[in-house]
Symmetry: C2
């Protein structure tokens, strides 16, 4: 097994684990080593809210590739092993596992160091650099277990941040019988995912189940004997304060790339704070790759730098890095579509491409259509609302959003369209699959394109 390349991967999450797998697929003789600082092999971070909810019965179910798997594939995996030093000149990585020091040489190095939760500036949230009891972030299985351990039916939970993870946790804690309050500093929920008019559809549904404060800062924590008792929030316009009784507080205000090692070895860091990578998952340093949440790539539509931040993209970068590091060839598309989806309180949402805010420099036509998942006469149809932004005068589709039935698979059509720079006319005349128990004769998927076409025709007539 020693004829092939020596590949060392720092970080054994989904991106790092995938890198190892594709390195192995590419070269059966490569020597592949993973150093992972946590206690678990390749697992699904995105599954954590569902393991807390009990939908996934046990946290260990989230492990997608076990130690046995890596062993069988002759991939050396060190858990609870921290990499403190990389010697670029001598191409060695030095890791510490307990009192043991492990050194591995590399021909190719892959940084899969992930991200760290950002903690908002909330007064008294920490004591001696530790959160008060009852306050948690959610990044690891251990975080998930700690939260599960604090869930009590009928008790009160607050969530700071109304993004995807915040709302997934709101649903989870609500399902567990807690009284949930969500606090969001921005005027709307899901601001990175949906335009305001689309997220308002979700908001209506969420507010039937939880208390939601948008446009409110979380300002300070009140505690008793080191245990959180209240979260104080402040209206950003009126400065009015509200004190919310809370037994459990989950911080879900996003993450920042973990780039300490990358900086130390001179990898260029991008505007968003992530390690700059290209379409081969290469950093600015030769033979050093980076994948997943620690990286910055560019947005396919705007060309602007963007943090990767989605597991599905990290895995794709892992395919590229693993294949390329082992001597194969795999290029990623020229930018990120940021295809995304989630489901909470029974409503499925999905989107691809930038939100309206990130497209404000473009001349666009926008269409929105609310349809049903089934023909009107067929029982069980569910609403589906779609919205698309197209560029003028080209007609190129820039972004699409969906709230409702099968939002995710409907958005995949637009992901394909955007990746291939198709126009609204290329898509709206497609034959969609039709059968009464499955989809209507004309699907919202293309009807939203017809709305855009109609607007454009009107603009031409009335310039």
């Amino acid at each position: 097994m020693t004829n092939g390349k020596k590949i060392v991967i720092v970080g054994g999450g989904a991106s790092g684990g995938t890198t190892a797998q594709f390195a192995r697929k590419t070269d059966r003789t490569a020597a592949i080593t993973i150093f992972e600082k946590g206690a678990y092999p390749h697992y699904s971070k995105c599954g954590l809210p569902y393991a807390i909810a009990g939908t996934v019965p046990d946290f260990l179910n989230l492990i997608e590739f076990s130690e046995e798997y890596f062993n069988k594939e002759h991939i050396e995996l060190f858990l609870q092993a921290t990499v403190n030093d990389i010697d670029l000149k001598h191409r060695t990585v030095i890791a510490n596992k307990g009192t043991e020091s492990i050194t591995r040489e590399f021909d190719a190095l892959v940084l899969a160091t992930g991200s760290l939760p950002t903690v908002p500036p909330v007064q008294n949230i920490q004591l001696n650099n530790r959160f008060h009891s009852g306050i948690h972030v959610l990044r690891t299985i251990d975080d998930g277990r700690a939260i599960l351990n604090e869930i009590r039916k009928g008790k009160k939970a607050t969530i700071i941040g109304a993004g995807l993870i915040g709302l997934e946790m709101a649903d989870t804690l609500h399902k567990k019988g807690m009284q949930v309050t969500v606090v969001e500093a921005l005027p709307s929920i899901l601001a990175a995912t949906l335009d305001v008019d689309m997220s308002d559809l979700v908001r209506e549904i969420i507010q039937e189940h939880v208390t939601l404060y948008t446009n409110h800062f979380a300002t300070r924590i009140q505690e008793k004997h080191g245990v959180v008792t209240h979260l104080v929030i402040q209206n950003r316009e009126t400065n009015e304060e509200i004190s919310i009784e809370t037994d459990l507080c989950v911080i879900a205000t996003g993450t920042k790339p973990e780039t300490m090692l990358a900086k130390r070895i001179g990898c260029a860091i991008g505007k968003t704070g992530g390690i700059l990578v290209n379409d081969n998952a290469e950093t600015s340093v030769k033979n050093v790759y980076a994948v997943g949440d620690c990286t910055e790539y560019r947005d396919f539509v705007t060309g602007e730098p963007i943090c990767v931040g989605l597991g599905s993209i990290g895995v794709r970068q892992g395919i590229a890095a693993g294949t390329n590091a082992a001597g194969g060839t795999y290029s990623l598309p020229k930018g990120l579509l940021m295809s995304r989806t989630s489901k909470f309180f029974g409503v499925e949402i999905a989107a691809v491409g930038p939100t309206q805010d990130s497209l404000k420099n473009k001349i666009m036509t926008t269409g929105k259509y609310k349809g049903s998942s089934l023909p009107d006469y067929f029982p069980g149809g569910e609403p589906i609302t779609m919205k698309i932004h197209i560029e003028e005068p080209s007609g190129r589709i820039l972004a699409a959003q969906a709230v409702g039935s099968n939002a995710a698979q409907r958005i995949n059509v637009y992901a394909c369209a955007i990746l291939n720079t198709l126009t609204v006319d290329d898509v709206r005349k497609m034959e969609t699959t039709y059968a009464p128990p499955i989809a209507p004769t004309l699907d919202t998927l293309t009807l939203v394109g017809d709305v855009v076409a109609l607007k454009r025709a009107r603009k031409k007539r009335e310039p």
Copy 2:
């Protein structure tokens, strides 16, 4: 309302009805007349099996646009009005409704005459040009009502033809508590929809619920006092006969275009027997359009003539014919994708593009992948198998098929890809939407493309 064009539409089904609606949208002043020989306005033929099943509570629920609707839109609708004569020279249509004769002039004529069920050459199926009691086709609400009237729990039903409608009816009659036997002359079921290996997945499931004979001709009917008692079928290889006791026999062996009027006024008829139309839904005769099941267009992928035969396509032709007849402009894509879907016995199927048989002159690479609708660790995942054919050496996607979870919406991605002549590499690297309760990190949608890519890479290495 008399300044606009005079448009006469023969046939008020979904294609004809849609034509009228889009003519009205295009010109508020057009004089629009529909002559429909049946008793019901614009209804969903595809919904008939579900009205028989009781999923749709009443046959009249299938009416998607009522007489009131057409009245409100100032579209003149004559039901039970048969068109016997068209005078092309004087641009008039003469219809009979009861004893009344109605004459309308036209600037544009639209033929939406639909299709007639084909009846296989089964001995003794008819007496004096009428089926024996207990034998039915399913094309109209009246047919549906007649079938419903004969359904008896515990009694025996046979279906001739294992296409989409045959299997939808098998599911319906099974749900109604009948013992169902399906007879198919071809060696496989769903031969126009899926390749054999894909339809075999469906077959396994169907055979848990009904008796299925493929490769068997229906040869003769036995009856007593004019009421069917047995269907005799014959093995095409061994010639062995089986007599199947039957209380109800449904013929679902397809349809043929109804072109009598079209022929009479000189419209060119294509190889498949349908009225030849172009991308504007125009026939060979000036100012005469045709839409829906009575027409022939071309297959997008092979360029071969193809019968329209799908309601969703007829509706799209109706949009074109209505818009163009009223003076607007609407062109259809250069061919038919034949996007199709259905669901029976709990399994969803979908496909786009020709089956393998129709692609036999192409040099192709084919990929198949069986995945799950959800990550492996997430409860409730359902199987989804996809198969794609791509052209060599271009890599262009020619066809895609799916059996399982969300088959229809997954196939829509390939409908978009095929319509825009994308290659497998254009599609397989797209970011699909991912979240644990919705879809896996890497979806079968693109993994099936990876299978093709792997095969192609191997072929290159081992030529």
